[in-house]
């Protein structure tokens, strides 16, 4: 029996199974998965670095000359400020204020004045002693030293509340398009004219909404946006083919009387069919007779 002939396998030939193909595709899949997550982390790192560099730039703002001040910032500075601020979270904004204070600037980015230094020692200050009782407050000295004036504090915090709490890499397209308003917008002639034009149009708001909707749609499609990336799952939307014209659901008038007694059992238009109510009542009556002596 010892022949050189190799025994014939009773199994199907391996070529009929795409075994080799699946292993390679599995490797490919693993690689794709790893790359996907690596890209996510990389984009996040990029955004964090961008925020850091923006913070560094904004420390030395405003760049414009003494012609402008916090209540009337130069349009270029205000625009740059808003652009830089777009990926910021409130916590990043707080860090920016701290950094500006370290360099003895007012916490509001568009204010050229130095921050105030409270005279005298002590850790806390009492404010609002003159107004009504609800204005009375004890605050840390450091809090008061962040700004050059109350007006600047108001301006800075007005910007802060507009920042999105969610980190930039998780935002939707619409959120990253959000426009930041300043409490004291630069009112140069061009701007005011443009503003009036926008009001004349009356479609300004509508247009904005439209833009947001488009952005959201684009994000849904996976076209753009900060968080846009190729997803792991290949989603194909297939529209259901409609044969006849759609018509709203209506109550059929004719057999309404017949359904009246089971109507309360109807769940979203469907009536459970097993054991109709009448039959059940009969059963109950039968069961009741068992108790009679």
């Amino acid at each position: 029996m010892a022949t050189t002939k190799t025994p014939k396998s009773i199994l199907k030939k391996s070529s009929s199974y795409p075994a080799a193909a699946t292993t390679s595709s599995k490797e490919e899949r693993d690689r794709g998965l790893a790359l996907y997550h690596a890209r996510l982390i990389q984009s996040r790192k990029d955004i964090e670095l961008e925020i850091l560099l923006s913070t560094e730039t904004l420390i030395d703002y405003p760049l414009a000359s003494s012609l402008y001040d916090a209540s009337n910032p130069s349009p270029a500075d205000a625009k740059a400020f808003k652009d830089f601020l777009r990926p910021f979270q409130p916590s990043d904004y707080d860090a920016l204020i701290v950094e500006r204070n370290i360099n003895d600037h007012c916490g509001y980015t568009l204010c050229p004045k130095p921050r105030v230094r409270e005279t005298g020692g002590g850790k806390y200050r009492v404010i609002g002693t003159r107004g009504r009782a609800k204005d009375f407050r004890v605050v840390e000295k450091e809090e008061l030293e962040k700004w050059c004036s109350d007006a600047c504090a108001r301006r800075a915090l007005y910007v802060r509340v507009q920042l999105s709490e969610s980190p930039a890499w998780e935002r939707e397209a619409a959120q990253s398009l959000i426009k930041i308003d300043l409490l004291d917008e630069p009112k140069s002639e061009d701007d005011s004219v443009a503003e009036e034009l926008g009001q004349l149009h009356l479609s300004g708001e509508e247009e904005q909404e439209k833009k947001q909707n488009t952005a959201n749609l684009a994000l849904e499609r996976g076209d753009q946006g900060r968080a846009a990336h190729h997803g792991l799952v290949d989603v194909k939307i297939q529209e259901k083919e409609v044969q006849r014209s759609a018509e709203p659901p209506s109550l059929d008038e004719d057999d309404l009387s017949g359904r009246l007694d089971t109507m309360h059992l109807t769940l979203e238009g469907h009536t459970p069919s097993f054991g109709s109510r009448r039959e059940r009542r009969d059963d109950e009556e039968e069961a009741d007779t068992d108790w009679k002596i």
Binding site: L52, V98, I102
Partner: protein, 239 residues
Amino acid sequence: MSSEEDRKIKQREAGDRETARLWRAWRTVHEMVRDRGYTLSDDEVNISLEDFKREYMGSDGSVSRANMKFSANPSDIMMKRYSNPPTDREPNPPPPDIGQIFVEFLNDTSVGIKQMRNFAQFLSSQNHHTGILVTSVNITPAALKIIPAVASETRIETFLETDLLVNITHHELVPTHVLLSKEEKTALLQRYRLKDTQLPRIQMGDPVARYLGLRRGQVVKIIRKSETAGRYASYRLCV
């Protein structure tokens, strides 16, 4: 009159305390730099308080931190420990990733992005490989993000003065940590047939790891006293 004298005495005492603190931090930094393997003479490390005062105290009786800076070069042993052994794939390995270290004490009441940037720029302009920044106050979180941003140019480590008042490695409960070279690491992994991720771990933020300036992927040998065995060695991978 007496209150005036009291005030003066108190001021002098506070100054003395500050000087003593700085002297201790100065010594610990020197010990740390020497323990990492840089060349420092004994005279530099074991400076007495009197010598320290003579060297760095200004005429007003306070120590100026601006003068407290020094640099050191890695010793041959340290170069060898950090060297990359040649492998089949890479017969000519890159040179060891180690170089001159520079230590600076910062006096600022707050340390932000600006100060960190300046320090990083100074390091790269002077071609210092590593920089240690000793501050008296906490560094802002935003400024700490500068460190990874400039990691490609220069290595920055930061310490607080208060953390350096005592040398933690001299405490009896802290076992000896010895950094393994790459060759020793491969030998260890072969001996026990391990992947390096199968070793126990030590964090980069661990006080001793910070003291030794460990990097991710390095292995330390920890030698403990054992009542039964005399000495007991364990190995940890820095993550």
